[in-house]
Amino acid sequence: MVTIQSSKIRYLIKKQAFFISLVLLALFQATPLRADEQDRTQISTQSQPSISDRQQEEINQLRQRIQILEEKESSEDLHPQFGMNLGAYGDVNFFTKDREANHPSFSLGSLDLYSTSHFGPRLTFLAELQLEINGQTSGGNFDLERFWVGYTFNDLLTVRVGRQHTALGYWNNTYHHGKQLFLTVDRPFFLAFEDDGGVLPVHTVGIELMGSQSLPTLRWMYELDIGNGHRIDSTTKLLVPNDIADNNSAKQVALRLSIQPNRLPGLTLGVFGTSDRVGTDANGNIDERVFGSDFSYMHNNVEFITEYFKMLNLDHDATAYYIQLGYKVARDITPYTRYETLDVNPADPYFSELQNNTSRHQTIAGVRYDIDELRSALKFQYRRDRKVGSETFHVLEAQWSFSF
């Protein structure tokens, strides 16, 4: 009896030992091996040449490298750089009857050509030309939309001179003339470019100082523009940036300050303001001030932007704002919606000179399909366009945007 029990015990212990061995073996496999790394370090230390030999070899390599760089630099000086980095943005549209067109229509968008270049890490160049079809003819306008040269001293100071987008808010600073890069068919209507009936001075010819600094908790940025003011063309009733000469001695000044908290990637908060003496034929020079704030969140599948503008002219003021939300529901599909509004006093001397001189509100809802997120997208949207004293339009729009 005792013999049977002890053999049973021995059997059970052996069985337990077998399984425990398997567990230990599995744990041993999971642990990264380190010993061979120590051996390799010791071996590499032992086989190092003497210090002076190494230094001599480094000096020889540096000499060769300097020679190669000097030869390369002298040969590159002879080659033009324009077009080395040349890109294009374009779009073709379709829309049903709207405020500007009486019939459902296909419409050529603009062809936006841009080229950038740099010489070393500090000197940068950019030129952006836009070809737009003019009215009902096949002729077009070639506009020099952006054209600047910049020099970077350090992260806190870059100086640019030329024509650029005024430091007015998030959208105007982020999105230029390439519609492939933004979610919707078009910009908020009050942020349209001057020659498209926009009411804000979105281009400046002058000098821009900009910079940023990364701190432990956030990154802050600034852009300061000093340039020619604008005037309103009494014939076209459009705002015109004075590209060649200013029409008065006052200069437009614009400043935007923004922050990006490190703990909330994708979030940008900004405040901005501009002061401009706008020349008009009927009302003389109008001192226009615009103040505002912007909030954007672009992270993961969310794209949210909202901006608020307060426009102060003499004794009158106007407000404009928009709220836009997009959410990527699939790899290539992003539904979106936006509400945008402009509230204007009819007696405002600034707005009375412009084409868009009454309060207007738009609601859009659409979906973007990325054929290729970098190169091409299809956008379909519904737009409800209400204007005080005018008909309300319900418009269906489609756009094929692309870049190459």
Partner: protein, 161 residues
């Protein structure tokens, strides 16, 4: 008495073979994940001014937000497309490879800035960082372990499945 102990207790505890088999299986699974984990190392020149960069600063460099250190231009180098690059972008930048490309497309169009240079060979990255005190790059850690004149300032654990 021992036999009685081994035989006594709740039924599940009596099925020691089943419990131990499950433990073995769990350990093997853990081991299989660790077996395929690789590390990505961010490297700088050992004698250069970049040895104390934080993860946030590394991110800023690869996003073009920090372009100068000590008044001199930083020269970041990217690894070729693949899992190493994806691990770096996911862990340090917080973007997918596609979103990173889109970020630089916009940056180029807005500011005329170009993305970091791409090198396909780890030895090219090592040489570039060795030769440039303001150079910074990333590559599989195994290539950096024995390399002289470079310093590892950040390590990313890349999981492969």
């Amino acid at each position: 008495m021992v036999v009685q102990f081994l035989k006594s207790g709740p039924a599940i505890l009596r099925n020691r073979g089943l419990i131990l088999s499950m433990l073995v299986l769990i350990c093997l699974l853990c081991g299989s994940v660790n077996l395929h984990a690789e590390q990505v190392a961010v490297i700088v020149n050992k004698d250069g001014p970049l040895s104390h960069l934080s993860k946030t600063e590394i991110r800023g460099i690869y996003l073009g937000e920090i372009r100068f250190v000590g008044g001199m231009p930083v020269r970041p180098i990217q690894y070729a497309e693949g899992q190493v690059k994806e691990a770096f972008l996911s862990n340090v930048i917080g973007l997918s490879a596609k979103d990173y490309k889109l970020y630089w497309v916009k940056k180029l169009f807005q500011e005329g800035l170009t993305p970091p240079l791409v090198k396909t060979d780890p030895s090219e990255i090592l040489n570039a960082v060795r030769e440039d005190p303001w150079g910074i790059g990333y590559l599989p850690k195994e290539f950096a372990n024995e390399a002289s004149e470079i310093q590892i300032i950040y390590i990313i654990q890349e999981e492969r499945h």
